[in-house]
Symmetry: C2
Subunit: 420 residues, 2 copies
């Protein structure tokens, strides 16, 4: 039986390592993401009902409904959200991922990233920047106006640019950023920089006026997280083919909706194992404290699931100035992840560990055996709708997700007669 | 007397630490660099006569004469160079620095970097890119054509861009790149990326056609060393005010002309202490070996003199893939430099050393006492004119430079009656 599981896990992590995430273009959620309607709202994490949603997710839903013209204000949007007319679903059920609240609505432009090895695609909205933004639960006029500009200008300009650039090999680009102090989750300064320089010679050729082109450059330049919304779908499309390998105990999804943390395991691909999301241990912006924090939220933990993000912090020592700790802590976090993973990444490497491949492919068995939980670095949202980011730090998934998953896995083996 | 020296060195290194290198514009060598004529050729390193010049420096001189229209080909340029009609001088005698051969001629566009604290300026040509380039001693038609394009297009476009951008604080930018895997000498990928994204929103607004603007972006994007020619004058203008502090034993210039390595010491600011340049221990491109190598060449060691470059290799672990060794070696090189320096940099910091400031301000006394020589990472030029780069690696200055400098320093103290 151990041999059976070992082979299954080799297959699952092998698929992950063979992934070739490639940026192929820009579309819109409505036109490109499967099964979207004008009244569908996708969100981060496992499925969650309106009445169970946390403050920042509610705020983002409200902003999304106003942005789509389905409601005028907080009250009418809240009433609509509660009415049963809106279809809420997990991004992950639609080949998509979203940072923080992760709200995706019909009209939003989305990056289209294809795993060239397996042909599957993943989608993610474009990053809105810092300050008051939908993903942190803000829904004010400036948020909605920015989303409109992204729909009408930013998305189309970048779509036309990408048509000139051609496809961009994101695996190679992410490999480079891990040599440049990024870990691909909370530090994306190198990634954003590499993307801008890659696009620049072509972006100037699009059929828009100079002021618009300049504004697009300035928008990307103003936001070091712009590249996050590319690492996320790159990771998502890398992981999806690893779901559904019979007997594999590898985690192929981790995600949080702000209320619950959920994981999915390869051999039980459609089942979420959830538990209440944790509060983040981190550095708070001036004026805020842990009392203001919403529990852990967002699909961005897809980066850790792929072996970058928190798992790759040893490659990004400067991140400790944002999430806390010392560079040695960052290296130690990266090292400890080898205890709970199936492989070392063949492409994403950690210079400080003599270019050792980052720990990749979390095994629920190893998590339970060692008691070591995946390390995640993340932004912290205010618990109330409309406020925004209040800090950043480190967090783990609840152990219960792994315990329940292993229990269900053993039940499955029993049911199939593999063990008695 | 020790107190006298200590105070002098505090003053010298204090001036270096207080520097505020700032990119203020682009000019031309002829119009902006002091004391240039159509027949002046500046070169890297201490002064050297035509007959003593190494192959790559001769190649670059020949290319420079052809570029300026003073000669038609190798033979006529060689004859002119040997005729006595050309004024050869060290870049350092003209507030300038140049990578590798470092040849600067009248018509070349130059970055203008000002030390805002002291008001002095430094100049450097724009980086030509990889392959056959003047700085490695190539002088073929493609080299000269590229220089013409840089004069007629690249320089003017960037000059107009900078007029829109305003000044760029290079100290902050260099501080950022040392958090992004660059050390500012042989790894400039982050720096080049940050520069491009800083310029982009403004570059699109210059009064040139789209194809030209696109080509300028593509040129910068194609060359990860583009930023080197900004770190160099940033370092040069940071160091120059530290020259001329009475009794200071701090090195404020290190430079090589391909034949000799030379240093200058703060308290004897106009005197070069030279010795034959060393052969570089490094990784060679396929088809080349140490037998092809020219001795150490270039003004780029101004980065190490300022405390970045080789001194900051611990911040740039990925560089070992280019110059040899392991990331731990890189950290060890950075650590050992604290033994021979006067201060830790207040701005350029090494994440792997828990953000310790890079070792800054080489003291000739400490070099002699410890026997530890400054560590330099550098490109390797072919010894013959016209070939180009053949590898990259690590090198030290000859100990003799420091021995002679200390001897001269002691003589000076004796002459002044400070010691008997």
């Amino acid at each position: 039986m151990q041999e059976l599981i070992k082979k299954a896990n080799e297959e699952a992590v092998g698929r992950l390592l063979k992934a070739q995430p490639t940026l192929v273009g820009i579309g819109t959620a409505g036109a490109d993401i499967p099964n979207m309607t004008k009244k569908t709202i996708l969100h981060a994490g496992p499925p969650v009902k309106w009445e169970d949603m946390s403050g920042p997710l509610r705020g983002a839903v409200i902003g999304g409904l106003i942005y789509e013209g389905l409601a005028d204000d907080f009250d009418s949007a809240s009433a609509l959200a509660a009415s049963g007319e809106i279809t809420f679903d997990s991004c992950h059920h639609h080949d998509a991922v979203g940072p923080m609240a992760g709200v995706v609505t019909y009209s939003m432009p989305v990056w289209i990233v294809e795993n060239k090895t397996f042909g599957n695609k993943a989608y993610c909205t474009l990053n809105e920047g810092l300050g008051k933004v939908l993903r942190f639960g803000a829904y004010q006029e400036e948020v909605v106006e920015r989303l409109k500009w992204m729909e009408e200008v930013l998305g189309p300009v970048l779509k036309e640019t990408l048509a000139l650039v051609g496809e961009i090999d994101l695996k190679t680009m992410i490999a480079q950023v891990t040599q440049m102090g990024d870990e691909g989750h909370n530090r994306n300064k190198a990634g954003t920089s590499l993307l801008i320089r890659e696009l620049a010679p072509h972006l100037v050729r699009v059929n828009y006026d100079i002021e618009t082109i300049s504004k697009v450059f300035a928008f990307m330049h103003s936001n070091d997280h712009f590249f996050l919304n590319l690492t996320m779908p790159a990771c998502k499309c890398s992981l999806d083919p690893a779901g559904g390998v019979k007997y594999s105990t590898m985690v192929y999804t981790m995600a949080r909706n702000g209320t619950e943390f959920g994981i999915r395991v390869s051999s039980m691909p459609d089942r979420w194992f959830t538990a209440p999301a944790e509060i983040i241990d981190g550095l708070y912006f001036p004026g805020y404290s842990p009392a203001d924090a919403n529990p852990d939220i967002g699909d961005s933990v897809i980066t850790e699931t792929t072996g970058i993000g928190g798992f790759c912090m040893g490659a990004a020592p400067a991140i400790v100035q944002f999430v806390g700790g010392t560079p040695q802590d960052a290296v130690n976090y990266s090292k400890s992840m080898y205890e709970i993973t199936l492989a070392e990444n063949n492409t994403y490497k950690i210079p400080a560990l003599n270019f050792r491949g980052s720990a990749t492919g979390v095994d629920i068995q190893k998590v339970i055996e060692t008691g070591i939980l995946p390390i995640i670095n993340t932004g912290i949202a205010h618990k109330d709708p409309g406020v925004g980011q209040v800090g950043a730090g480190l967090v783990n998934p609840p152990m219960k997700c792994f315990e329940d998953a292993l229990e269900a896995y053993v039940e499955m083996l029993e049911k199939e007669g593999v063990i008695k």
